[in-house]
């Protein structure tokens, strides 16, 4: 009976004041409109539903969908996604129309991954906008996307996109399995989902690439990777990915190959420099003074004679101060942030040296390594490099250069054992295909970069074997 159904519905959505029930008299009798007013703009409701109902009810019957009224959960899901339910009292039919028009942010420049040249648009929090940003770049029927719902309490939409003729379907199945096995109430951002479907969640290194730029995403799609979007999340993740790609910025492809290679080498070796410089200082001063040339050593002795702490404590002290500055700078409200930044950077640095708490050579080293740690375009990677640096500092403090090399061996082994969606994380270091080396630390000119990279294990091979 229709009233029972409406009563059941009313019980479910009791105390949800957002839901509006309007009764409109039409040619075919009374129609009750049920909808979430926060998800639907008034103009949309008018033009799509109310006006056709009163004037041209045939249009409604053509455009709307029939809904099974016994499936209360399904009906509520539709309401939640912004559809308007039309209940015809005369015929006991339940129709629904898609009128979702919640306000979304306009497409703006990216603040976290900006480039000098190239397209400047970035993803927003709306899933539809993001998918449209990708579709307008790859205009092909092979670009598939599958929608799923995750989150047991929140029911958030995610979308998996891939190129059907290029991607490796085993990877896809693997990914789908992992997502289906996830049980979590709410995903505020896609990075939370990422940590749940990674191969090695305990490792400090990120195993999937995350970005807000549509041009990066499109490049990876054509390369045969799988991309995931989530509603209300600005980031998109790409899998599988490798360690070397964490140092790749999309601007490398817009620059010429000489500049691009130079910048990539800088980023890549910057990573290793940033984890080695300050531990070198500690090990040279505490264990192996004979490494440094004579004049430098005299200089160092002079500046260290005023400092009361051993080098390890000194370095930890200033590294922690730099971390505090950085963290406070990102959490502080913008108005207050500027002043404190100047206070921290200049005053603390100079005053500490003069007060005899730190040596000035060390401040130069720490500032350089802090700058170098921001080189990788992926934010998660720069955070990781800071964490790894602490491990190196501690091991250098324990055993000097030997400790550093032990930590380095540990790092290498850890990186070698990581996997990203089943493929090894260090793949271009131990290349699957010779053409992988062309786009690695050094980028060869674009006309050489025609083959897909080995990490995606694309279907190219099978079509070529035929």
């Amino acid at each position: 009976m229709p009233e029972q159904i409406v009563a059941k519905l009313k019980k479910e959505i009791n105390d949800v004041d957002d839901v509006k029930l309007n009764m409109i008299a039409t040619e075919e009798g009374d129609v009750t409109l049920i909808y979430f007013s926060s998800l639907i703009e008034k103009m949309t409701l008018q033009t799509m539903v109310s006006i056709p109902l009163t004037n041209n009810i045939k249009q409604i019957h053509q455009m709307a969908q029939y809904v099974d009224p016994k499936d209360v959960q399904g009906v509520i899901k539709r309401l939640n996604t912004g559809q308007t339910l039309l209940f015809f009292h005369e015929t006991n039919a339940l129709l629904s129309m898609d009128t979702y028009s919640a306000p979304t942010r306009a497409i703006t420049n990216t603040e976290t991954e900006s480039t000098v040249i190239g397209p400047q648009d970035a993803f927003t929090e709306s899933l539809e906008t993001n998918i449209s940003l990708v579709r307008r770049r790859i205009q092909s029927a092979q670009l598939k996307n599958e929608n799923r719902i995750v989150g047991s309490e929140a029911n958030i939409k995610i979308s998996i996109m891939y190129m059907d003729n290029i991607v490796n379907h085993k990877n896809l199945d693997d990914l789908r399995n992992r997502i289906d096995q996830v049980e979590f109430p709410l995903f505020t951002d896609i990075s939370v989902l990422k940590q749940l479907i990674e191969d090695n969640p305990l490792s400090p290194f990120p195993q999937y690439y995350m970005t807000v730029r549509p041009d990066s995403i499109c490049r990876y799609l054509i390369d045969g990777r799988i991309v995931m979007f989530m509603d209300n999340s600005q980031l998109a993740i790409v899998c599988p990915t490798s360690f070397f790609e964490m140092f790749v910025s999309i601007e490398d492809y817009y620059n010429r190959w000489t500049t691009a290679s130079l910048l990539r080498m800088l980023r890549f070796f910057g990573f290793f420099l940033t984890i080695m410089i300050t531990p070198m200082y500690i090990s040279a001063l505490t264990f192996h003074p004979e490494i440094l040339p004579y004049e430098l050593l005299l200089n160092l002795q002079e500046s260290r004679s005023k400092v009361p702490f051993p080098p390890l404590i000194e370095v930890l002290f200033i590294e922690l101060i730099v971390e505090v500055l950085r963290e406070a700078g990102s959490r502080m409200p913008a108005k207050v942030g500027q002043t404190i930044g100047i206070v921290g950077g200049i005053v603390i640095g100079t005053a500490a040296v003069q007060a005899g708490l730190l040596s000035n050579i060390l401040i130069v080293l720490v500032a350089t390594s802090a700058l170098l740690s921001f080189l990788p375009p992926i934010f998660l990677m720069s955070n990781t490099s800071r964490f790894v640096r602490y491990i190196f500092i501690l091991s250098a403090g324990l055993f000097g250069l030997f400790g550093q090399m032990l930590a380095f061996a540990w790092l290498i082994h850890h990186l070698l054992s990581l996997k990203s969606l089943g493929t090894h994380y260090m793949t271009p270091g131990i290349p699957r295909k010779p053409t992988d080396l062309l786009d690695n630390v050094i980028r060869f000119p674009i006309n050489y970069l025609t083959k897909k990279s080995g990490i995606s294990r694309t279907q190219e091979k099978t079509t070529e074997e035929k």
Binding site: L202, L285, E290, R304, S305, P310, L398
Partner: protein, 369 residues
Amino acid sequence: MNRKLLGISLLLLVLLVGCSRKELKVPLEDIGMVGIMAFDYIDENQMKLTVAIPQYALEAQQKTQVFSVATDLVSNGIVEMEKLSDKKIVFNQLRVVLVNEDFARKGEVRKVIQHLYRNAEVGNKVLIAVAKDNAEAILKGDYPDKPNINIYINDLLEPSINTAFNPNTNIHDFMYTITNPVTDTIIPYIEKRDDKIEINGVAVFKGNQMHEVIKPEEALIVQALLGRKSLAPLHLDLHEGHGEEKLMIDLIESSIKMQSNKSIKSPKLIINLKIKGTLSEYKGEREYELNTVESISHLEKDINKQLEVDITKFLDKLKNMQVDPSGLSEKFRMYYHGTWTTKQTREVIGKLKTEVHVETSIISTGTLK
């Protein structure tokens, strides 16, 4: 399995930090890095050990601290010296080792250098020199216009263009030549004059003992025979029929080829020396005639003859002394089956007949004609 491993290892590490003995670690500012060591001969059992440690503190009066003890063993001496100094003595930055002439003539140098060679702290690039009279006086002397005795001696003995006769012997070279039956060691010989230190010549060793001092010109010949590519400015006196002529050849590039006749019974060595240089100064009869190519080639021929005479004279001197600083007998060892001993080197040098050919080519005479 991995999580358990992580947990156990972290626990172990934290607990075992207590086992390390941290109080032995001396921080950088409390170590005294010895820059120069000097050995003087006192008598058969005793030697005098002097070290110079640079001071970095700006408030100190002296730029260098010098300590002196008399001891029988090197390590004993270091221990004694630590009683005098407030800093821990380390050899990480040792640059120069000076030995007294008496010390060298008595043959004690090898023991001392071998001790330093064995020491893992000391690098192999430490330079060695023999000091006339007293090495301690050199270290303790006052050099008002030089910043630091460490830097002064180090720079003096380092390879430089104008002291190409200096063999720049370091510890490795010393151990190499003294243990190699084919060569005899050569070490620069320095002397203190008032407030300056001068490299007077080169000391040649025979076996473990210092034998003689040779002049810089002869030492230059040794360097040329050893194959050194760029020799110092060469100063020549010509007596070839144009009266007394003096000239200087600068920016020399030399290359040498030696061929032996492979026989030990009557060894003969053919030496071909090619010299390329710029004529920088000339004093003599032909001064105003040297602007044509023919006169230059005449001059070159005269230079060749003079150089051949000089080199042959020097090689005869070596023959009489039976020392071989330039490793000429290596060319014979190459073709000899069996173990080569020092005795054979002496024999070969004693019987060596040489034929020297010099080819000079003067590339230019500076910017004026």
